[in-house]
């Protein structure tokens, strides 16, 4: 269970959109126009989130306050990296990053080369995350001695 709020100072968001909010009883509420949101959410293996479209790209501070973990992000320095706040438990964390402003490619091709180091079995597998928060996991290919 997540109970959270975010506050934007030194900047404003022109609009926002929930990501992967599937429970109609849990919503994102705009508590202060253009500067603050609050939500409740449950994650049990999935992820959920919120997109913000800022009025100015590289300005202001985003303050996150949840019942699990809290933190601040300097938006002036957030580029193509990801800021992560670790909340303990089973992979509980908050991530803040910039996706493209508009929809982008639904296709991706990747090559991966691995040499078995020996020893314990090595499961090699793939996890894909879509912009709508949906994820797909492949079955593993086990490399064994």
């Amino acid at each position: 269970m997540w109970q959270g709020k975010l506050t934007l100072t030194g900047n404003r968001f022109a609009r926002f959109a929930p990501v992967n909010f599937l429970n109609p009883e849990r919503k994102v509420e705009e508590t202060s126009a253009g500067t603050a949101l609050a939500w409740t959410s449950v994650t049990t293996g999935n992820l959920a989130g919120i997109d913000l479209w800022l009025e100015t790209s590289q300005r202001g501070t985003l303050t996150l306050d949840t019942n699990v973990v809290s933190g601040e992000v300097d938006l002036a320095t957030l580029a193509d990296d990801t800021v992560v706040f670790d909340g303990g438990g089973l992979g509980r964390l908050i991530s803040v990053y910039r996706p493209p402003e508009q929809d982008w490619s639904r296709r991706l091709a990747v090559d991966h080369v691995v040499t078995f180091p020996g020893g314990a079995d090595l499961p090699v597998y793939v996890r894909v995350t879509q912009s709508d928060g949906h994820q797909a996991w492949s079955s593993p290919i086990y490399l064994i001695a």
Partner: protein, 72 residues
């Protein structure tokens, strides 16, 4: 995917192609629990005013449910 192989010292080349039902945010290749490669179909030049905040994970792993009618 899904297989068991004995590669010896021969490198395994994995050719991956993904077609999503929505834009693809990231593709991670994992060895066990470790992410060893991440790919995205966009570059830093595509980024701008949009910022995403996500949360994930669970507090604990629930115990397996008892069979119906069993007390313990």
């Amino acid at each position: 995917m899904g297989d068991i192989i004995r590669p010896g010292k021969v490198p395994m080349r994995l050719a991956i192609e993904v077609i999503g039902t929505a834009p693809i945010e990231r593709l991670d290749v994992l060895h066990g629990a470790n992410v060893v490669q991440t790919a995205r179909p966009f570059t830093a030049a595509d980024l701008g005013r949009r910022v995403r905040v996500t949360w994930q994970g669970a507090e604990y792993r629930a115990a397996a449910a008892r069979p119906c009618g069993r007390e313990n």
